[in-house]
Symmetry: C2
């Protein structure tokens, strides 16, 4: 029916809203409606926030993230460390050993070179701590008022061990759901810094590389069935996405989900739900029930996994994917955020 | 002598100027003074605009570019096609077969989704034409006035054939210098679109993938000693950088450098030197003198190489690298641009 005389009503499609960048339902719609049809179905297996490539006899993970966090420097980190660790964590979530990063800088005219130097130094330190090299990059400058100091886009390559197959497809009824620590600190730290809220004690970002704990799990023979770092959209969005993709029902015990008193108090003050607040050093892992105890032991051995906890399980119920949280008040069905709870959090 | 009581005078370092994004001497200083010391010396062999990685028994090329061109759509292309082809060309300049791309989008609140769809479609078409997949991506949104519609950062991975070793180190006295076509069209097309100059006939960007002609050269056994796409800074900057890195003297015959009458006229009007104007579908190749004729034959067989020409040679003179252009008026020594001739050209 369509032809040159029946143009699509593209002018009616609207404009970009802040929620399109929130990592929730609006972002998903943009990707599904605009980008995927335009780029065609990728022949390689698509992963959340990454792709797997078979190259030269090995399997590579390949991922990218753009970082527009504001403020550029915040308690517990800065855009530079975030740009390195965020991409390293995406590789780790594919089960990959991070190898190399690229970094593209979009600088605003008038940005202080002293601050750029601090941010670059932070990137270097973060990369060295993880054992990854920043091997290539690019720099562009836009006029005053067309940027916001600096935006950084990193891409990363990692090597996936032969035996690893991580993803929603590997999730099975009976699997247990683990998180690597208390939730919501990154988002609250950013909001507090942005709004000038002086929480006492101050909330620091949880920004941390998840690669070492994932590597140790894999080395110990505990191949997680699915891994996800709990960034934009937080724990709740990650669980809903995985349940939907895996077509399983998750039962989460609300009282087992670790949230610090400081984050809980700040979230109430800001009208936020900590389960939806972004983290930058927290993961959820789906493992076989028999692996739960040794996996928790490994996570807790790492400084950034000391607060690891088992929070739920994959139920035996059939049917379409959904996430049920068991609370004192009864069962709550979790949804994706429709827009963006916290803009420019990463 | 330095210590905690002797802080560096970082506050005196100044601010980002437009020229820091121009690809000339200011950009080079930023990379050398700020980024490289912060990131540490990369253990892999650094290449211009790309890095080589040895992974799983093969050699990979890895590169990234951020694109901030304005206007977003211009005669002969748009930011989407540019983001795909620009990164593919960087891979081709490493002698690599492009495999996969990532794409990070920084969208400004209020940007028309219809235009984003056009740009995404253009990316898809460009990728399909080159035979490369866009396999992973990310989307962020910034507030109105903190962006300019859309910025795109692509990264790319390519596979380098075992026999290929391309770079300034392979340049030898006696090598000839080839270009793949007439110069300066991309920069002039952008400037004309931006300034509303209606050249007749209109100048279209030379935007084109250089990967097919490079692949054919390599398949024919003509391994170029050095390749460079002539983007920001144009022919002159590329030649100066290669001469400096290779520590050789280049003699360029000015009358042999192809520039169309339209570009020459527009350049005079705009006060630009076409040798410094950006291209997005032109390369310079250094090949052994014996390979000059077959290499030119191969380049000219491609639509985007029809205007290929031999423009000079590597002289036998010793000493530090420099580029001499032989003109009617005598010898001219070429320099890097100190700032940015044309802002936001790519």
């Amino acid at each position: 029916m369509s032809g040159p005389f029946c143009p699509l009503p593209v002018a009616d499609e609207g404009v970009i809203e802040r929620g399109h960048g929130g990592g929730g339902a609006l972002t998903a719609r943009l990707v599904e409606d605009v980008f995927l049809p335009a780029f065609g179905a990728a022949p390689s297996a698509p992963l959340h926030d990454g792709a797997t490539l078979v190259v030269a006899g090995g399997r590579l993970a390949f991922t990218t993230d753009s970082f527009v966090v504001t403020p550029l420097e915040f308690p517990g980190g800065d855009i530079g460390a975030l740009a390195v660790i965020g991409t390293v964590n995406d590789l780790a979530m594919c089960g990959a050993r991070p190898l190399s990063l690229s970094a593209g800088f979009i600088l605003e005219e008038g940005f202080a070179i002293a601050q750029l130097r601090r941010i670059a130094a932070s990137m270097g330190r973060a990369a060295a701590a993880v054992g990854v090299d920043i091997v290539t990059g690019d720099t562009k400058v836009v006029e005053r008022g067309k940027g916001d100091g600096v935006y950084i886009t990193t891409a990363g390559i990692g090597l996936i061990p032969a035996e690893v197959a991580i993803g929603p497809a590997a999730v099975r009824p009976g699997d247990v759901v683990l998180v690597s620590g208390d939730l919501g600190r990154h988002g609250i730290a950013i909001m507090a810094a942005r709004e000038g809220l002086g929480f006492e004690p101050p909330v620091e970002s949880d920004l941390a590389s998840l690669a070492p704990m994932v590597a140790e799990l894999i080395e110990a023979g505990i191949a997680p069935h699915c891994l996800r770092d709990l960034t934009r959209g937080g724990l709740a969005s990650a669980l809903v996405e995985i349940a939907t993709a895996a077509e399983v029902e998750l039962r989460i015990e609300a009282s087992a989900v670790p949230v610090s008193d400081a984050v809980r108090g700040a979230s109430e003050l800001l009208g936020l739900d900590p389960w939806y607040v972004a983290n930058e050093g927290r993961l959820v892992a789906f493992v076989a029930a028999a692996d739960a105890a040794p996996a928790l032991d490994i996570l807790r051995r790492h400084r950034d996994g000391a607060g690891a906890a088992m929070i739920g399980r994959v139920s035996a119920a059939a049917g379409r994917g959904r996430v049920l949280a068991e609370t004192i008040g009864g069962l709550r069905v979790l949804d994706l955020m429709s827009g963006e709870q916290l803009p420019r959090i990463c």
